[in-house]
Every structure is written in C-alpha cells, then in structure tokens.
Symmetry: none
Subunit: 401 residues, 2 copies
C-alpha cells in the first residue's frame, strides 16, 4: 500500500489547480430486472461526456473484498494508507457533529440506555428516545467535573451522544462499558495498557456520577460508552504533497475528515450547489480542492435504487460549472460503492475518472462501473489517486535518476 | 512490492533460455490528431505477430502515478523493489560513462561553473563549455591527491564530470556544494551523519585545491558537486534467481545498470543490430539475456512523435532474428513510458508481452497500450516480470507444499 513519504523528494509546488470531487457511495450494482447499475440507468450526459475525454479506471478503497466506512474510504483517496491510519468510532462520531477534536483528546460514542432496579440492562438504546429528550440529559452530564481534565458531552441524534475528554496523559486504550446484550449490568472500564489507568479511573468516576444524575429519568436512566478513540497522527496533506489544500463539504463528517488531513475547511452551505459556489469564490486561494457530494450514498444506504439514480442525475448538471473553472486536473471518485440493492457500503471497485490536458482521446463511452473497468487507468488502489492527479498536474516529478 | 527473496527456495537452475528485451521508453500516448499512440501508429508487423502468440499485459514500473527514471525502471524489471534499492544521481552518472564503481566508492556529479572575484556564482554551467575544453580540466583535477584515498575525475559531456572517491570509511551522507542559484558562493560540504565527517573534510580539501587549479580558467573557474551516492547493495541477480545472466547494451548507462544487478556484461557495438549479433554469438554461454533498445526513449524525450514511430519501426525487423534463436521465453518490456506528446518519462503503464510454448493462442491482435491492456497478464508490477519469465522457462517451481 502506498505511503505519502515513499517519494517525498518528488513533490513540487506549482500554480496548477486540482479538483477532487468525491461522490459518496458512487459505485453500484445492477438492478435485478434491468441488469443496469445506478450509473448505467441514470441520464448523466455531462459525466458521460467527461468520461470520453478522461482517463478512466476503478479504485479499490482498501483491499479487494473489504467494504470501507467513510473514514478509510476518504483517507485512502487523500493518499493515506487506510490500514495504517485508523480513525476510531468515537473520533469519527465526534467529527460527524463537528466537535473540535485535537491530538491528545479522547472521544467515545455514548448511548443512553435503560436498566432495571438491579442495574441490569433492559434496553441498550433507551427506546431510541428522540433528540429533544436526550439533549437536556447531555446538558446535565456536561456539568460533571473530573479532577485535572476537561469533560464535554455533545448530543448526536436520538439516544446517541459523544463524550470528549481533554487533558494531558489521556489514552484510548480502555475497554467499553457496553456488554452488547441485555440482562447484565454495564461493564466497568478497564485499562488495556498501564498508560491508560488514569483514563479508566476518570471514566469510571464519570459513569458513577452520571448514573446518579440519570437515576430518576425514564427510560434513559443509564448510559453506555464505547468506541474510545484518539485522532490518528497523519502527516498533513499540505506539507506532504506541497499543496495548499481546501475542503468543501456540506456535511460535517466530511469536513471533519478533511480536518484530519489538515486541509483548510472553507465554510459552505447546505447543498452541493452551495459547495460549487464556494469552490468558485475561493478558486484563486488554493491549488487543491476536495469537494464532497453526499446524496448518492444516502439513497444507496436507504436501498432506494430510484433515489440513487436521481441523486446522480441531480449531480450531473453541476459538472459543467466545475469544468468551466478549467482546473488542470479534475478527478471524479468515490470513497466506496453503496449499491442500492445492498442498502449498504460495499467492497466493489469504484468508478474513477481523471481529466487533464493529457487525457483527450483515451476515454471510454460513459461513466459507469463497466466502462471504467475498460479505461486506461485500470484498477488501482484508491491511495494512488492523489499521485495520479499530482503527476497530471505537474506536481510530482520523476522518481530516481 | 515483490522482493527477490520472498520465494527463494523456488528457483531452479535449468538449461532453458530467456531473453528480456527492454525497449526504453516503450509506452506512449495518443497523438492529439490521430488519437493513436506511437505503437498504434507504427507499422510493426513482427511485434504484432508476436503479440498474437504471446501473453500480453501492462506493467507498472514503480506505483500508479509515479514516473520513474532509468534506474528504478530497470531495477524493477530485473525484480528489485525500486522503492527499496535506490541508485543516487552520482552513481548513475558514473554508470552512464562506465566508470568502475565498486561497493564503498562514493561518486558525485560535478559541474564546471563560473564565479566572480568574490567567489559568487555567475553561471552554474560555465557557459556549457564543450567537452574538448572540460576534458583537459578534468585531467588537471584528477592529479589532486588526498590523504588515504584514491580520487578520480572523469569527463562526462560539456560542463559535466564525475568525481569518484575510493577508500575505506567513505560515506554518501554529505551535502551538495551547488546552491542552485547564481549570486551566492558555492556551499561548503557538511556531514549529514557522524560517519560522514571524514568524507566531508576530504571533499572540502578537494574543492579548495580544485579552486586554485581552476582560478585562471575562463569561464570554468570553479566547480560544483552534487548527487553524492554509493551503489546500493543488491542481491546479485545470478545467485538470487539461480541464473547465469548476461547484459547486452550499446549505451553505457544500461551496461552500468546491468552491472549493479551483477550480470555479466558482454561487449557489443554501437547499434541494436550489433547487440543482436552479440546475443547470437554468446547464446550458448548464458541462460538469461537482458538486451536493451534505446532509440524509442530518445525520440520520446525529444518530443518527436514521428521519430519515436520510426524508432519502433526500426526495431521491428530485428525481432525475427531474436525469435529465430528459439528462446524458451522471449519477453518484450519497457522500463517506463516516454510519450512523445509529453517529451518526458511518464507514469503510464507499459506494454509487455511474454512468448513461450505456453502462450500460443492467447494473444491480442497487436502490440500496443490498448491491446496489451486486454491481455491475459493484466496489469502487474514491473517487479513481477522476472517471476513470470522464470515460471514460463521452468526455472521457478511451486511455492509451498
């Protein structure tokens, strides 16, 4: 698997511009009746026309057969080995609601839950209480104080929240309190390493106080904590590649992932057309732009084939506005496939196209799984996407004499 | 990336014969008007006929998106991980003029340059003085003596020369004297590691004496040294693969690269047809032959599409003379692509074909980028070429029980 540092002497800073459009959950599978995938079904003349003038291929997000989450899917596209740089569940949950997570902080995913008189779990999700009930509970828990560290509790959605610990000497190497079944009490937190004993003791104190605060609440009279995680230490994308990178994403999770790579986050609106306006307005200020399109994945996860087709058709008319900026390199990629017939992320290779001055006349007829499989790029690890883009942009020079 | 030593128990010595023809800069890109690459444009009936009877594919020299120099491009084809075994600039320059470079020697690339009365650089290339002016200066510098080591200066071309240091305890871990800009003096050499302090002190003494010798020369009154390099220590190809390998190359650089892999270099003439005669005359003496064809790369680097087509057409009639020897395995590969439209080495996958008794009837219609992309070998790292060849030659047996 590629590593940013393997060819570190070959990166050069130039004025050329790169745009990486990540269509979340881009790849799909054939509908059982039509035998056509979402991309093959959708009417996407602009993406198809671009494919005809692009180098096309398929990317493997992590390894063949591995369906990635959003974290590894994006890190790979940014060039980070997704098997080396792991974003834990708690950290990703925090990024998803734009909690400020700094190196050294520890985050956990929390669930409100229900226990009986003897403390045994009766509902691990407290009847999936709505956010308007859980948010005031988070405010209560947020007031808990622990010696020597800062503690914050953020509501996520329904019964879910994020606990963030900030202070020196904290560790993610502690066990979860969720026993994963009802009928038994929540577990005590244990240190997995000697360094983590302080954290384990602090968290147990937090749980003890939280239990008192929640005791009379119905049905959320207890909490569970899991997915302890600190941010991985990634080489910043800007200094690694000699770029001035910007991230534009309507959804906080993807701004969070861009933050992990140390991109500059440009505030934007709620829709992809807002993102494109933001791209245009800031086009002179950066030489690399990551821009994120979410609806394809959301529809795929819902198992709604038609909605995913529609999401792709909604994206298509905005492609010319990006091409009109004349970026030296414009890449359309996906972090993973989300076939509607699976209603889930999948391991299938993801369509990819790269447009530059060097790609005229080598394209394929249309932008979809089958056509891209015949493209000149072939099948590459997603971690090679940045290197290909940088080379086409003249930002990656010859390796070795 | 593959490593020679991964399957070391599987190599067996047999009497079968292998020929690896490396067409330098083989791969190309489509001409903007015709949409056909150099290989697709060229009339190469013998290469096409061979492709129809061969297993075809595309090789990735280093990693997708990485354009390699000649060093990594060839080492990969010989089976060495090009990210692990690095040939520095000074060593490659020395190999390029066939300086005898032994393990432990340190080589640098030298430039004659011009400085003003206060020692500030006014021309880093001394007006690109011709070789007939620089060669006598090299003779003068060659007479400099340093305590405890042997020192030799070899003219390369125009303002360029090679400095070779031979002795015990030398190190490549020293800084360059070239400040890369005019208007400032040459830099002093500094040791990057403690082990390199002896080398740094010796080189500074050399520069001091050289400066005195050159002081009155116009315009080459000073020198710059860069690209300090020792040879990487490679497992010899012969013992690693249980082969008796020979290298045949008209250009010294490629004889040098074959030397690094410890092939036996067979003296030959100035042209590829000389090389083919050499191959024939020595066919009984070795079981593996690396034979090198340079003109395709030279034309590509010149950005001359027509000349690259011609270079491929000039190669084609000589293919039957090699096939007539009936090698058990005949492979045609490239160290990298050199598309004429880029006038440079590129990162694009390189056409590859392997002909053996096992490849009849699985070929593609012609030998070019698109056809090879559809071949049975698919896309492989260039480091896998030797393993494929050895297996087809019966020299690589089953791995694992």
């Amino acid at each position: 698997m590629i590593d940013l540092e393997q060819v570190q002497d070959c990166y050069v800073s130039t004025s050329s511009k790169m745009v990486l459009l990540v269509v979340d959950g881009l790849g799909g599978l054939a509908h059982p009746e039509t035998k056509l995938s979402e991309l093959e079904t959708a009417n996407i003349p602009n993406l198809d026309a671009m494919a005809q003038e692009s180098a096309c291929g398929l990317t493997t997000p992590v390894l063949p057969g591995i369906a990635p989450g959003s974290g590894p899917g994006h890190l790979a596209l940014f060039g980070y080995d997704p098997l080396k740089y792991i974003i834990g569940r708690g950290a990703l949950e925090a990024l998803g609601i734009e909690v400020d997570l700094q190196p050294g902080d520890v985050a956990a995913r929390g669930n409100f839950c229900t226990v009986d008189n003897e403390g045994r779990l009766t509902d691990r999700r407290a009847g999936r209480i709505p956010t308007q009930l859980s948010a005031p509970l988070c405010e209560q828990l947020d007031k808990i104080e622990l010696p020597g560290i800062q503690l914050d509790v953020y509501p996520v959605q329904d019964y879910r929240f994020v606990l963030r610990l900030r202070g020196t000497g904290l560790s993610e190497q502690v066990t979860e309190t969720d026993p994963q079944i009802n009928g038994v009490p929540a577990l005590e937190v244990k240190a997995l390493t000697q360094d983590a004993e302080k954290t384990a003791a602090l968290v147990n104190k937090f749980v003890e106080q939280a239990q008192k605060i929640l005791a009379e609440e119905v049905p959320a009279n207890m909490l569970l904590l899991r997915g302890w995680a600190q941010l991985p230490e990634l080489p910043p994308m800007g200094s690694a590649y000699k770029l001035n990178p910007a991230g534009i994403a309507a959804y906080p999770m993807y701004r969070g992932l861009a933050t992990v790579a140390k991109m500059n986050i440009i505030p934007t609106g709620k829709s992809f057309s807002d993102e494109v306006v933001t791209l245009k307005e800031n086009y002179d200020n950066h030489d690399f732009f990551f821009i994120h399109y979410k609806p394809a994945d959301a529809a795929g996860e819902d198992g709604d084939f038609g909605a995913k087709v529609q999401a792709l058709e909604d994206l298509d008319p905005l492609i010319p506005s990006i091409r009109d900026l004349n970026p030296d390199v414009f890449m359309v990629a996906g972090d993973h496939s989300t076939p509607a017939i699976m209603a889930a992320h999948s391991w299938h290779p993801v369509p990819f196209m790269l447009n530059s001055q060097l790609t005229k006349g080598e394209g394929v007829p249309s932008f979809d799984e089958r056509s891209c499989g015949l493209g000149s790029i072939g099948r590459i690890p997603a971690t090679s996407v940045m290197h290909l883009g940088l080379s086409h942009a003249g930002k990656l020079t010859k390796f070795g004499p």
